[in-house]
Subunit: 105 residues, 2 copies
DNA sequence: ACAATAGTGAAGTCATGGCTTGACTGTTTG
DNA sequence: CAAACAGTCAAGCCATGACTTCACTATTGT
């Protein structure tokens, strides 16, 4: 069910991948420039980028010999929406409960 | 870095665990009632609940022989905030860019 | 043309994660 | 008290995931 969210959440569960997202939030960046501060191989970064691309968080374009990665504008909104929906559902329930308890108190 | 978010995102990356959260968004539920519709063992559910508890999404209380799980009110807000922050950061950057391109167009 | 640069591909390693089974501990209920 | 019930513990299984190395393929600058 919803393999989209599966891959999305799982992708963001990795600290290196979230670090990549953070870096890309500032500006589009090449593979090797992403690898530098993270203490991993460029190969690893390339693999992470593939994962992030597959779940719609990152876009990637290779011009010449350098591949530049950038964030997809609405790539994170499914996550945001999922969390917000659950929270609002819970809040509504708790409000109803508080109301009932208030009436009889 | 931020092992909180690590565990949180990773926890939510599992479909069974998200299904549990969905169920709990409706109402607090016992372990065995959670297990029923999900096609897994109660043992598995107990393990999932432990994970969700450790990352602050779920609260759990055992009275008599039945353990009842419920959602923690702000358990998902870190996720929501993280996603929202990145999105707004990106949007600001893109707005600035559009402005610059507009000026010279 | 040559050397340095930027990335890709295919293996392989090592740890972790989700799940199960089977035995066991408490708690209700007839 | 005995039997059904709700959950827990300890092990172990199997798949996946994050990473590395090494060899290799473009590209770019001298």
């Amino acid at each position: 069910m919803t393999p989209d969210l599966d891959r999305l959440f799982q992708a963001l569960g990795d600290p290196t991948r979230r670090a990549i997202v953070d870096r890309l939030a500032e500006s589009p960046t090449s593979v090797s420039r992403l690898a530098e501060p993270l203490g991993v191989t460029v190969t690893a970064i390339a693999q992470h980028l593939q994962v992030l691309e597959q779940c719609g968080v990152v876009r990637t374009e290779k011009v010449g010999r350098v591949r530049t990665a950038s964030l997809v504008p609405d790539g994170l909104t499914p996550v945001e929406r999922w969390a917000r929906d659950r929270r609002s559902m819970l809040e509504k329930r708790l409000d109803r409960l508080a109301e009932i308890l208030g009436e009889e108190g």
